[in-house]
C-alpha cells in the first residue's frame, strides 16, 4: 500500500436550483478515521461519493484534493450500507472481484489469508445467500481490504447490523484498516464517538467539527468520556437548524 494521503474537500453542492449543502470544509487527516455524522438527506453520502469519484447528480462547486497532490481515483476503496456481494460468486470470488474486474490474475493466496483473518475460512466456498448479515458484511470488509487502497470510504456499512454484530464489525474494521485514511459516513452518534479520530457534524446549514475525547479511537463503548461525547453529538444532531 502506498502512504495514505489526507484529503481536503472545500465547496458547496446543489441540485439544479435548490442547494444541497452550503460551502463546507472537510479535512480528513492521513492515516486516521474521520467520521461524518448527520441526519439522512443532509448530503453526507454525496460528499463521500464526490471523494470516491462516483456519480452524484449534483452540481459541486469547489475542489477535492489529496495532501500529496496526486489524483484520488484508483486509490479509493468503497464499502456501502448493503454488502454489494455478487450472488453468483462464492466468498473467495467476491473477495477477489476487483482483480478480475481489472483483468488481473487474482491473488487467491492473499484472499484466503484475508478470509481466514476475518474468520470466514469455513465459508470460503459458500455463496452470499448462505451467510448471515454479519458474515456478509465481513466478506465485504475482506473485499475492501483485498483492494489494499490507502483511502477507504465507508458509507454506513454497519447500520443494518444488530448491536452486537455492529460493535464486532467496528472493532474488526478499526483493527484491519489501521494506517489507512478512512472516511466513515454515519447517522449513529455512538459509532462516531467510538471510531472518530475527528468527527464532523453536518446538516443542511453546514458543517462543524466536534472535538472528541483524548482517548485514541477505537474507544470502549462504555467509557464515560465516550458516552459523554456520544451524548454531546446526539444533542448537537437534535438542535434545530439555526
Amino acid at each position: 500500500m502506498t502512504p495514505a494521503p489526507g484529503i481536503t474537500l472545500i465547496g458547496a453542492a446543489r441540485f439544479g436550483e435548490s442547494p444541497l449543502f452550503p460551502p463546507v470544509r472537510l479535512e480528513i487527516d492521513p492515516g486516521s478515521w474521520s467520521c461524518l455524522l448527520g441526519p439522512s438527506g443532509c448530503g453526507k453520502t454525496t460528499i463521500l461519493r464526490l471523494i470516491a469519484g462516483l456519480d452524484t447528480g449534483v452540481d459541486f462547486d469547489g475542489h477535492i484534493r489529496a495532501s500529496d497532490g496526486k489524483p484520488l481515483p484508483g486509490r479509493v476503496a468503497y464499502m456501502a450500507q448493503t454488502d454489494l456481494l455478487m450472488p453468483w460468486l462464492d466468498v473467495l470470488g467476491n473477495v477477489t472481484l476487483g482483480a478480475r474486474l481489472r483483468g488481473e490474475t487474482p491473488d487467491v493466496e492473499a484472499a484466503e489469508t484475508l478470509v481466514e483473518r476475518l474468520g470466514l475460512s469455513e465459508h470460503a466456498h459458500k455463496r452470499p445467500t448462505k451467510l448471515s448479515g454479519g458474515q456478509r458484511q465481513r466478506v465485504a470488509l475482506a473485499r475492501t481490504l483485498m483492494e489494499d487502497r490507502p483511502v477507504v470510504l465507508l458509507d454506513e456499512p454497519f447500520s443494518a447490523l444488530d448491536a452486537r454484530t455492529r460493535a464486532e464489525m467496528q472493532d474488526l474494521a478499526a483493527e484491519t484498516l489501521e494506517g489507512r485514511t478512512v472516511l466513515l459516513v454515519t447517522h449513529d452518534p455512538g459509532e462516531a464517538a467510538r471510531l472518530g479520530d475527528r468527527v464532523f457534524l453536518m446538516d443542511r446549514t453546514g458543517m462543524v467539527e466536534a472535538v472528541p475525547p483524548a482517548t485514541p479511537a477505537i474507544r470502549p463503548a462504555a467509557d464515560s468520556e465516550t458516552l459523554a461525547f456520544q451524548g454531546r453529538l446526539l444533542d448537537a444532531l437534535r438542535e434545530p437548524a439555526a
Binding site: Y78, L84, W88, L89, R100, L101, L153
Partner: protein
Amino acid sequence: MSGVWRGLAAAVLFVGLWQALVTLADLPPFILPGPVRVAGALWSNVGLIAWHAGITMAEVLIGLALGVGLGIATAIGLAVSPAARYLIRPALVATQSLPVFALAPILTLWMGYGIWSKVVMAVLIIYFPVASAFFDGLMRTPRGWLDLGHTMGASPARLLWGIRVPAAIPSLASGLRLAAVYAPIGAVIGEWVGAAGGLGYLMLLANGRVKIDLMFATLLVLAALTLLLHRSVGWACDRLVARLD
C-alpha cells in the same frame, strides 16, 4: 418425482374429461374423436408423424438458436450504446405493432416452401421477447454494484461482462422460457401458410382429408414437443442461473 406424478395425474384427468365429453355429448368422430381413436391414429401413423415432427423441430431449434443469438446481441448492443438506444429502440418497439403472423405469406413468397421461411417466422416471433427481457435486465443492474465496480477501476467492457451480464441472466432466462413456447407457434403458422412438410402442414393435410383423428394425433405430438422444449429450456436456464461463475 412429485412433479412427474402430478403431470401424470393431470394427463389422466385430461384424457378422462376428453372421453367423458365424447361419450356424454355423443360427438361424432369427425368433430371430436375420442382418445382411443386418436391413440390408434397416432400408432398407425407414427412414422409419418415423426418425419413431420422432425421437420418442425428443425425449424424450431434453428429459429430458437438464431433468434436467441440475435436477441442477445441486440440487447448488449442497446445496453452499451446510448446512440443505439436512441435510434434503434423506438423502431424496435414500433415493429411490434405489426402482427408477425401477417408477415408469414410474404416470407413464404420470398423464401419458398422449405424450412427457411418457418425458421425466419420463429426468429421474428422470439427475437423481441428475448432482446427485450435481456435488455431490461442489463439496464437494471443495481447501482451499488456498478459503483463498486467503478471504484475498483473496472473498464466499461469488464463491468459489462463481470457484473451487468451475470446480473441480467435471470431476466434473460425468463425471455428464453417465453421463446421456447413462442418458437413452435411461429413455425406452425409458417407451415400453415405454405409448406411441404412439418406438423402444421400435416394438420392441414389431415383436416382436408377429414382424417380428424390424425389431425388430433398431430396436435397432441405438437403440444408434447412444445412442452418438452419448454421444460428443457427451463432446465437449462436453471442450470445457467445456478452455475453462474
